[in-house]
Point group: D2
Chain length 381, copies 4
C-alpha cells in the first residue's frame, strides 16, 4: 500500500508584496489534496527565492523564470502536476501556452488572457492539448452561489425576467497608482491589465457570476464606461444594460471609485414567481423572496439546501466560511478532475468549475463593453 501523494503545484507570480499568491497557496492546499512544490514567483531571482523560502520550498525549485520552471519540472519524476498562474494579466497567455505545450495542466487567475483574441488563441491551445484548464472565478466557489445556481435551475422562481449585478469598490477613489501601490499600478496599466480597467478587473467577475447563477447568457449589452480619477489610463466606473438569451434584461454595474465600499458584489435574479439575492460580504446566506410567501434566508450547511450547495460545505451551519474557502472549492474540483484524468479517465471537469469557455466569455465581455461605450449604444454578443 503506497501513500497517495498530493497533486504538486507550481506557481507563476505571487512573489513578495502580492496579495493573490498566498491566497492561491492557501486555497490550493486547504483540502489536503494539493501541495505547492515549485514556483517562478518573480522575475527577480532573489525575490523568487525569497518567496520560495516563505513558502518553505526546496530552494532549487524557486525559479526566476516560468519557462525555466516548466522545463526543469517537466524533467523531474516528482515534477509539478499543474501550474497556477497568478501573475499580471499580460502573462496569462504565454505561461498557459508554455505549460500546455509541456503537457502540464493549468489553473489560471482570471482573466484567461489580456484580450479577446488572446483568449481565443488559448481556447484553441487548450482544445488541442486535451489538458485540464481551470479559471478561478472565486465567487463560483461559495456554497450559497451554488445554492442560487441550483435554485435557478429548478425553475422554482419561474421564468427569469430580470437580473441585476453590481460590484462596487472604493479603493481606487484616488490616484493610488501614482504612489507606487503595487496592486494599483498594474491594474491601471493597459500594458499589464489589457484594455479593461474596472470592467476587466471586477466587471468580469460580475459578468461571470450573473451567467453562472442564472444559467442564462448575455446576448447584448449597452455599456457606459468612465475614467473618474484624472490621469488614470483605464476605466474605473461602469454601468451597463444587459439583454439575456431568454429575453430577460437587466443591469451590470462596477466601480472602483465608489468611495466607502469595500467589496460589494451583489447579485439579484428575478423570476415570475420569486427572486434571489446574494452578497459577497454576507456570503453564507442566500435571500429568496416570493410573490406570496414569507421571505426566506437559506443558510450555508443546512440540510435543506440543494446537493450542490451541501457538497461544498466544510463547517456546520452557523460557522462562517469565506473567501479562502470559496477559492479552495475551485481548487478541490480542479484537483479531483485532474486526479481522475491522471488515473486514465477522460478529462471532464465538472460544470461548476469555470474553464476556458468562461475565460473566453469574460474577454468577450470586456471587448464588447468597450465597443458599446465607443458607439454609445447596444452591441450584440
Amino acid at each position: 500500500m503506497t501513500e497517495p501523494h498530493k497533486l504538486r503545484m507550481g506557481m507563476v507570480g505571487g512573489g513578495p508584496g502580492a496579495f493573490i499568491g498566498p491566497v492561491h497557496r492557501i486555497a490550493a492546499e486547504l483540502d489536503g489534496k494539493i501541495e505547492l512544490v515549485a514556483g517562478a514567483f518573480s522575475q527577480s531571482p532573489e525575490r523568487s527565492r525569497e518567496a520560495g523560502m516563505r513558502f518553505r520550498l526546496d530552494p532549487a525549485r524557486a525559479y526566476a523564470d516560468y519557462r525555466q520552471m516548466i522545463e526543469a519540472e517537466s524533467k523531474r519524476a516528482d515534477g509539478v502536476d499543474f501550474v497556477a498562474i497568478v501573475a499580471p494579466n499580460h502573462m496569462h497567455l504565454p505561461v498557459a501556452l508554455a505549460a500546455l505545450e509541456s503537457g502540464i495542466a493549468v489553473m489560471s487567475d482570471k482573466p484567461a488572457a489580456a484580450s479577446y483574441e488572446e483568449a481565443l488563441e488559448l481556447q484553441a491551445a487548450v482544445a488541442k492539448s486535451g489538458l485540464l484548464y481551470g479559471l478561478t472565478h472565486t465567487y463560483a466557489g461559495y456554497a450559497m452561489v451554488r445554492e442560487a445556481r441550483a435554485l435557478c435551475a429548478t425553475g422554482k422562481l419561474g421564468t427569469i425576467r430580470k437580473v441585476a449585478v453590481e460590484y462596487m469598490q472604493g479603493w481606487l477613489s484616488g490616484p493610488l497608482e501614482s504612489t507606487g501601490h503595487k496592486q494599483a499600478v498594474w491594474r491601471t496599466d493597459p500594458a499589464l491589465s489589457g484594455a479593461g480597467g474596472a470592467i476587466g478587473d471586477i466587471g468580469t467577475h460580475a459578468f461571470h457570476l450573473i451567467e453562472y447563477i442564472s444559467g442564462l447568457k448575455v446576448t447584448a449589452m449597452n455599456a457606459t464606461l468612465r475614467t473618474v480619477v484624472p490621469g488614470r489610463r483605464l476605466d474605473d466606473d461602469c454601468n451597463a444594460f444587459l439583454r439575456m438569451n431568454n429575453g430577460a434584461e437587466g443591469s451590470l454595474a462596477c466601480s472602483q471609485i465608489a468611495a466607502g465600499e469595500m467589496n460589494e458584489l451583489r447579485v439579484r435574479v428575478y423570476g415570475e414567481k420569486g427572486s434571489l439575492e446574494w452578497r459577497h460580504q454576507d456570503p453564507n446566506r442566500l435571500i429568496v423572496r416570493w410573490l406570496d410567501g414569507p421571505e426566506q434566508i437559506h443558510h450555508a450547511s443546512m440540510s435543506y439546501l440543494s446537493a450542490e450547495a451541501r457538497a461544498v460545505a466544510r463547517t456546520p451551519a452557523g460557522h462562517p466560511e469565506g473567501y479562502l474557502e470559496a477559492f479552495a472549492v475551485l481548487y478541490r474540483e480542479f484537483a479531483d478532475a485532474l486526479l481522475t484524468w491522471k488515473q486514465g479517465r477522460a478529462n471532464s471537469p465538472p460544470a461548476t468549475l469555470p474553464g476556458i469557455e468562461a475565460g473566453v466569455r469574460g474577454m468577450r465581455f470586456i471587448e464588447r463593453a468597450i465597443e458599446s461605450h465607443r458607439i454609445a449604444g447596444w452591441v450584440e454578443f
Copy 2:
C-alpha cells in the same frame, strides 16, 4: 383670546377602496394643524357620501364632483383652506387649475400632471395665482433623507461623482389589472396614468429623491423601458444611465415586476471621500461610509444629526417613524407655509417641501425616459 383654528382641507379622490386617501388624511391631520372637513371622494355620489361618513364629515360636505366642492366651499366662511388631490393622475391638472382659480391652495399627490406639457401649464397657473402648491414626494419627508440631503450639502463627502437609485416592486409581476384590482387598473391605463407606467408611478419618486438628496440635477439620461407582462399597456421595468450637472454619472432603476420585492427604494451617493446609503424599508437609519474610517450609522432623532433632520423628528431615538410620518412632515411644512401666508406674509414655502418645480421636473423625467428609450440612446434634459 381666540382659538387658533386648524387649516381646513378638502380632498379630491380617496374614496372607498383607495389606499392613498386615508394616508393623506392621517398624514395631514397628524401634527394637529390640519383637519379634513370636505371631500369629493368619488364621482359616484353614494360612494363619496360613504367616504365622508367614514371620515366622520358633515354629510353636506361630501360632494360628488370636485367643481361642486370648490364652488360650495368657496362660499362658506369656514370653507376649505386648501385642496388635497389624490385622484388618478389624469385628474391632477383640472382639479389643481380649478382650485387655483378659486384662490384655494393645492397639495397634490405626484405626479403634478399627466404629461410634461400639462405640468408646464400647471406651473404657469401656479405662478399666476401666487398660491401655495405642494407635491407629496413622500420620501422627502423622512428625517434621514433630510440628513442625507444635509450631509451632501456640507461637502463632507467631497465632490459627488456617482449616484445610484433604484425603486423595486414586485406587485405587478402578473397581469393584476385584468382581475379588476383598482390600484393596478388605473396605474396601467395610459388614459388615467399618462405615458409612464413604472417610470411614472415610482421612477419619478426615485428621480426626485436622487436630485433632492444630492443637490444635483440630471442633465442627460439613457433609458431602456420594457413591458414585461404580456398585454400590459405601459412600461413595468426600467433601467437608465444618468448624467448630472456636475459631471457625476450614475444609474436609476425601477421595476414593478421584481417579484418578491415589496417597496425597495434605495439611494446611494458617492463622493470623493465617502458615500451614503438610505433605504426606505429601513428608514430611520442612514449609512455613511468613508474612505478611511469606520462605517457610520446615523440614527433618527439623535442629537448629533443635522438641524434639518432633527427638525422633523417626533419620537425619541429608537422609536421608529415610518411612511405616515414622512407624509405628515410634508403636510406640516405645507400647513406652516400656508398659515404664514394667511397671516399676510409672502408665500415662501421651505426648500425642503417639493413644489411645482419638482412636479414639472418629474414629468420631464418621464417624457425624457420615453424619448431615450425610443432612440435607444442618450437624451439631454
Copy 3:
C-alpha cells in the same frame, strides 16, 4: 342622517416639555375616530393653557386640575367620553379613580398605578364601575407583535420551552436627573415613579410583551437589580430569570445604562420546532426560524400573515409603520370598544387590548422583582 361624531378625549398630563403627550394625541386621533377636546395638561394654569393652544383647543377646556376637568366635562353635553392619563406614575391611580367615579372611561399610560397595592385598588374600581379601562403597552400594537402572538397561539412552534426578552437603553448612563432633564427627573424619583426604576419604566414593557406574545404567564422569577449611576435613587439595570406556567424558562433583562443602545426591545420565543424573534427597532419584520427549513422573514402588510396582523395594517407592504401607529392601534381598539358600549352593548374590549389585568400584572412584576433582588433568589408570582 346625522354626522357620526368622533369620541371626545380629555388628557391629563402631557404639558409643555412632555414627550408622551403629543404621542398620545397623535395616536388617539390617527385613525379619525377620536378627537382631543380637553385637557389638564399641567398643574400650572398658564402651562396648561399653553398646551391647549398648541393642541388648538377651546381655551375654556384647558384646565389646571384634573378634578376640575372631570367635573366640568361631566356637565357638558359634549363632554369627554374618556380620559387619557399621561401624567407621571404617582398620578395614575387618583386620576383613574376620579374618572371612573364620574362614569368616564380611562385610557392610561403604563404603569396602571404606582404600586402593586394601588393597582389592586384600581382593578376593584374598574370592576365596580363597569367602565372601559385600557393601558397603552405600546408594543402590543405592532402588527408583527400581533403576528408573533398569533403564531404562538397556533402551536406551530411546538411547546414553548424558552423565552428571552430584553429592553436596553443607554440614555441614563450618566446622572441626567441632576441636570434637571424632565424625563430623567421623574423617572428616577421614587415619589413620582414608584419603587421601580428601569424595572418599572421599561422592564414592565418587556414583561408584558413576553406574556402577550407567548400566551404564557410568569410564575416565578429570580431578579438582580442594580443602581449603576452613583447617587441615583432607583435601579437602572436588571437581569432576571423567569419560569413560565408551562414549565418553560427564560430571561428578562432591562437597562437604562447600556451606553450606545437607543431603545433595543427584543423578544425571542423558542418552541420545540422553531422560534421567533422581534425587535422594536426593526418593527415591520418578524423572524421565524425552524429546526429544519429556511429562516423566514414575515413582513408587515403581506397577505400571508395572520388575520390578527393584517387587521392592524394601514399601509401596503414595504411602507414602514412605526411607534405612533402601534400606539394608534391601541387607541383604535379602545375607541371601537367604547363606541360599541356607548351603543348599549356590553363592555367587552378585545383580548388584544391591554387592560387593568395587564396593569395589575405589571405592578406585580415590579414588586416581585424587588423582592427577588432583596432575597437574592427565586420568588413565586
Copy 4:
C-alpha cells in the same frame, strides 16, 4: 541553505465521522507553517488507517493508540513537534500528560480536561514540563474579536459596567443522541464530556470570550441549568448572572435547545461612554456604539483597525474570513511560539493565545455553574 521545514503535527482523535478533525488539520496547515504527519485518529486500527489515507499520510504513521504514536514519534528524527488533541473530553488529560511527559508540546481542543480537578493537574504538568500548551478557543482567533479586545483595553468605552454574552444553538432540540448521532452521543454522555452539557460544550466558549474581550474576570455567578429534553443526562440550557472583578455585572446564556438557532454567539460590552457588539455569524464586523455619536461598524482588514486586529487579517477588506481562518490564527500563533522556543529562546506564548490558564478557568466555570445551580444562588469564583 537548507529548506526550513514545517512544524510536524500529530493528531489524536478526528477519525472518520468527526467534524473537528478536518477543521484542525485545515486550520493548522492553512498558513503553511505546520504539516499533519501522524495521527492516532481512532481506537480502531482500520479507522485510524482510513483517516490517515484520507489525510494522505504515510500509513506507518496512522496509529491505533495515542501512547503508541507518542512513543514511536519520539524516536523518529522527523517525529512530531506537537500533538493536537481533538478526541472527546475525557481523553484530553491523559493524552496531554503523555505528550508532555515525552517532551512534546500540546495544542488541545477545549476543554482542557474533563473536570476542574483534572485541569489543575494538567496545569501543574504544563508548568513542570516547561512546554508550550495551547487551547483552541476558536473565537479568540477572529480579527474583530481582537479588535474588540483592543478597544476595551484602550479605555475608550470608559469603565466597563455591564456585559452580556450568549451562545444559542438549536441542534439538540430533540433527543438526537438516541439516534446514534456521533456528535450528540458524546456531548450528552457525562463519561465522555464531563459534568457539563451545554454549559461545558459552548458555555465555556462564551465565558472565555467575555473575559478575553473585556479584560475582566468573573468573580461570582448565579446560574440556573436545565435539562429540557427528557432523558438527556446533561444540561442543555443555561442562564447565569455574572459579577466581574471591577464591579460590572452581566449575563451569560447558553442553550442547545434554542430551536432554529444555528450558532448564535454574541457578545456585548457596555462602558460608561459606549459599547461594542460582536456576533460570530457576522464575524467580520464589530459594532461600536457611542453615547453621543453615530454608531460605527469596524470592518475587518481596514487600515483604521488596531494593530492586534490588522495582524491577523489574511484577505483585503470585504473579502470575508471565517471559522477556519480564526482557528488558523491560533495555530499560527502556536507555531510561531513553538518555533521561537525550538530556536532556543524562552517559551513565551503571546497573551492572545489561550493557554492552560484559560483551560483551568473554563473548568472552574463549569464547576461553579453546577454548584450555583445546586444551591440556587450566587457562588464566588
